[in-house]
Amino acid sequence: MSKKMIVSAIAMALLATNAFADGHCASGKTLEKGKFTIATGNPAYFPWVLDDAPESGQGFEAAVAYAVAEEMGFSKQDVIWVRSSFDEAIQPGVKNFDVNMQQYSITSERDQVVDFSVPYYTAPMAVLVGAGATNTSATIKALKGLKWGAVGSTTAVQKIGSSVQPDNAPLLYADNADVNAAITANQIDAAMFDLPTALFLSAVMIEGSKVIGQFPSSESDNADQFGMLMEEGNPLKSCVDEALNTITGNGILASIEAQWLQDTTGVPLIK
């Protein structure tokens, strides 16, 4: 092949990719042209993101993010990661991300202020107990008598109030690490988390703790579905939804889930 031909072949290839990108649903709708900016937590926790390094694509949410990006026509290099808190995500000003992915539960109240993609994971709520309460049986009656805790910004707070209705008012914390500290200090017996987070905390972070039960995910108030958060009215939503629907349909999402999230069927249902 002559030099000329190689050059023209490369040019053709570039043109083709350009044409492809231009024709794609997401073109011109992202913050930065040709780039897809995704926000995650600071820090981002396992098993959602491995080692707080989403760029690696390791961890459930990181892997889903790259799968969605690829489906939307972005290469791995075109994905930019930023960090954001919950408050930054819902503040009324300009956002520094196209989508924000950190186990945001979709609720109708939140949906009025921001947009959510279709869900990429349905998380059952689970009960994590400290070393002193591992013998508690997985019944609502037994759970009522425990001293409860949760992260104040999560839907777990509502779940404790609606499903468990404990005898003592729960204590609420700013993040997982503080709940961890409270369980370790025996200030609370039990904490409510989504199941993957609970399994991780119990296995790695909190010595002697145990996930004693999960709430059946069929329960109407327990449809804790995680969605990608976007600015209200973001035109990108339809593209993100389309991409998520595609990877759900072709089984990619399920295989990512199988790879990164433990089999959760071993945890008994709470009666």
Binding site: P92, E109, R110, G152, S153, P170
Partner: protein
Amino acid sequence: MTRREHYEQQQRRKSLIIAAISTIFVVVAVIIFVPMTPGWEKVQKSFFNATVLAKTFPKLLDAFKVNIMIFAWSAPAIAVLGLMIALARDAKAPALFPLRIFGAAFTDIFRGVPVILTVYLIGFGIPGLGLPRPWNSPFIWGSLALILTYSAYVAEIFRAGIDSVHPSQRSAALSLGLSERQVMRDVILPQAVRNVVPSQMNMLIALQKDVSLLSFIGPVEIFRQAGVYKSLFANFTPYVGAAIIFLIVTIPATRYADYLMARQMRERR
């Protein structure tokens, strides 16, 4: 009316009119121009949302009771401990020198560390040693963190009050045959405490706000409750609601402190 009085009255009237005009101008400008900003509608929806405020305000008031409770038992403890630290730093007998060192170290440490760090370290650290319930309660240890920090500040104010009593009073009292202890208790302290009441009022106001820092170690007081609603509604209005409740308490308190301060100034003149 003398010519001078007439002139002064005119001047007063003039400045009153100017003050009124400039105030009206500023208020009107805020009312007209802020809503003209492009983001106003969104800001209004997420910070000043009447529906969300109505839904959350009663619960916020309820949570504020927790603040009042923590404040109510912390404030007296702070007053007592603060006074003791001040007296320790003021101990004159050579044998009590260790007490002075302790007082100085105490104020240095607890004034130097941010309150939130003290709350974290004591609130999670001491219960972590393995205390049984209910003695590991975050209410106890969180309050202790507040008490220690605020005592350090309050002690310094008391010390300033003690120093503000002229040394001649001490000499005079001693020469009348009073013991050191009697001089402090009956002569110096009554004046010292009176002198610093307005400054201590400001500490009370600050404490009232800092009670919210206990939310970091578990207690669901007004700030945490507002945060829960913020997350639930994805709306910052509950924080504005909490701010309103704080202001309802702090504005009268600040005004009262100002009044005490002004009265003291008048008396000293």
